[in-house]
Symmetry: C2
């Protein structure tokens, strides 16, 4: 894993060695936020004093020789659909304005137990679906940061916080990471518990992370104790390039960037075609997501006049879905999982776009998640590796997809890829 | 566990000691079948020569000093919805007349690996649902044996085979065991794989067993290696008597038998009432079962004019079920599981009827499974303990229900109950 001189892992090392303090790390974040937040709008809730107090408690604990976890003093941003006992959690909708959870989500509790400073709550789209929040892309304020974990991706991309938690049901981690040019991991579905996280579509909902490097992602995965450790790669990984039927709709800049990368990879990457029988994967995902949203957001349905028209439409369609169609879609998802199980007995990882190109202009839409859909449906881990750029220097989503449960190994393969085709 | 001098466990012991041969045990079964089958009609397929050849192979293996499993030479009847590579598997419907599976169901393979002789295929109702097969109650040919595992229950009750495999989706093991007066276990849902078993409603479908004693059930559970062993009880178990809202509909003979048993149990059994919030359990079960049947029997739907009107009606209703209603029902099932988890932190087992009374007269219906429904929905193990009888001497279903995963412990509690209130 390549080492970064800034970021979460570097901060953890500097705090552990006494080179800096947790308070200093947090103050550096707050300085950067003061500078960049007016243009970016990544934060839904942030109390500087509360953040500094958490950092001071970390420093006191360290000075007293107390136990210091692997994230001791590291600031983390938390998507505002994840419960925090000491901060509001408003789920991106006026329906839940002022909502104060009684307790931390399990994953927040685990981050605190590992020593993390919960810096604040990041902007989410409406109920983690498609209607955008206030966040702008830090690389170009006229463009979307992507969604639904808009604030988490933008905050890391803007250098406001080295690590942030997001969630993905369709493309809500990998897509904004692709548009903002940060590292991100959507782990294997089910690896991290959803206790205390808004349930949108539990068959798909997955907690993930944004970081400044693969090392940051490895740090947080290791700290959470939910992932099997991976050995260093003994040999170059076998990679499969998957275009998917979406390929013709990609932007020319993406196709050029991929062509160049594939040329550099040469024999290390072969093309694999999604079997035609799996092409309904996008329909299966829609069916499952809308049906489950309709059930899990049933209380919100009662206040639907306060929801966006697009979400109302999704919920209405979900309420019309038949149990037969839902089971057919779940059965299709199972077929996709089986097929990928066979792919991953031959290849170590799939290389595929994470976005159709660069972040779209405008803030009305968070962009198309379709390149993330099959991997969300399959529940396999996916990683954004920000290696590719458009001629104007805007990031393009490069997604690496691994076998179920091989999350840490996927990070190692991403590291190999960075070494192989990085600048 | 009390020891029986006949039955599967006794046969296994006699064969292991050389006191008798597998061939002799099988020939005794075949003699009994020749005598009783014309009146009972428990078997869908049975080839005497094929059974004898399996038994001879067991004897040859033993004589040669080969490895002998815990069921070595023990004859087992298999419900005709469970695939067998060497026998037809017709699923109780003309739609699948003459069907020959390519391979054994996983559980059949496991029984063979443990040494069992697969004696033949037992009668099932139509696609393991409600429309009866030819089987009559061996204790009174004018009465139903119950269903859907009609042949398996009747074959054991008639002494034709000491052990038989059935399946339960609603009350298809516990109800026929109750009506036929045999021991039976419906294990924890998911403990035994359904690979090669007709899928009716996978959220509910469970493979179970009928035997001549608790010892027989313990033997087969141990042989399959899917159940945690249980220590002998250190103290009398704490029992909860649950009437359920069905109690007023029970027959007077059942109420009298339960009253007498509860009086004998005295302080060892307290009454526990199903919380009102769980009373929709029967509706949740219907919703899940019909929705899943509609999907998993979709190929049969295309030939629905060959199905019974009642099954056509179930499938039609299942096709109309909404994904919303299906998820609400699954969520209710989860609430039931949680509530039972709490019950089983206080009590070791639930005592409740398994039937409304004795086996109903007539063969048009297999009787009402409602007393089994909540435990099938919860996926907890349930056991029929044939201790209770009507004044005319017909068996009455006495069901013992245990905590998820505590299948072997449930058998020990049943054994304690037999000692405490048995004849």
């Amino acid at each position: 894993m390549s080492r970064s001189s800034s970021g979460a892992a570097a901060a953890a090392r500097s705090i552990a060695s006494g080179e800096t303090s947790a308070e200093q790390v947090v103050r550096d974040c707050l300085d950067r936020i003061r500078e960049r937040e007016p243009a970016v709008g990544a934060w839904q809730w942030l109390d500087e004093q509360h953040a500094i107090e958490q950092a001071r408690a970390c420093d006191r604990l360290r000075d007293a020789g107390g136990p210091c976890g692997p994230l001791h003093g590291v600031p983390v941003g938390i998507k505002d659909i994840v419960d925090t006992a000491d901060m509001p959690t408003e789920l991106g909708t006026v329906v839940h304005a002022g909502r104060r959870p009684a307790s931390d989500a399990a994953v927040v509790w685990a981050l605190r137990a590992a020593g993390a400073v919960i810096l604040g709550k990041t902007v989410t789209t409406e109920l983690a679906t498609y209607s955008p929040g206030k966040t702008r892309n830090p690389l170009d304020a006229t463009r979307t940061p992507g969604g639904s974990s808009s604030g988490s991706a933008a905050a890391v991309a803007a250098g406001m916080v080295p690590l942030a938690l997001g969630t993905q049901t369709n493309g809500s981690v990998i897509r904004p990471a692709g548009f903002c040019g940060v590292h991100a991991l959507k782990p294997t579905h089910g690896a991290l518990t959803l206790e205390g996280v808004l349930r949108v579509s539990p068959s798909l909902d997955t907690v993930g992370f944004f970081g400044t490097s693969l090392e940051d992602l490895e740090l947080v995965c290791g700290a959470l104790g939910a992932f099997a450790p991976a050995q260093p790669l003994a040999a170059p990984p076998r990679l499969a390039f998957v275009r998917t039927p979406l390929w013709p709709r990609t932007e020319p800049a993406l196709r050029a960037a991929f062509d160049e990368m594939l040329e550099r990879l040469g024999g290390d990457c072969e093309e694999w075609e999604l079997p035609a029988a799996l092409e309904p994967a996008w329909d299966w995902h829609t069916t499952i997501m809308e049906a489950e949203m309709a059930f899990h957001l049933r209380a919100e349905w009662d206040r639907r006049h306060e929801l966006s028209p697009s979400l109302q439409g999704q919920l209405a369609r979900g309420r019309e879905t038949s149990a037969f169609g839902y089971q057919r879609a779940q059965s299709g998802a199972q077929a996709l999982r089986s097929a990928l199980g066979e792919v991953f007995s031959v290849y170590d990882a799939i290389v595929t776009p994470g976005t159709f190109g660069v972040a779209p202009l405008g803030l009305e839409s968070t962009g198309d998640p379709a390149f993330c859909t099959p991997w969300s449906l399959a529940g396999v881990p996916a990683c954004n590796v920000p290696l590719l750029k458009s001629p104007e220097g805007l990031p393009i989503g490069l997604q690496l997809v691994g076998a179920r449960g091989a999350d840490m190994r996927l990070l190692r393969i991403a590291s190999w890829l960075e070494g192989r085709v990085g600048p």
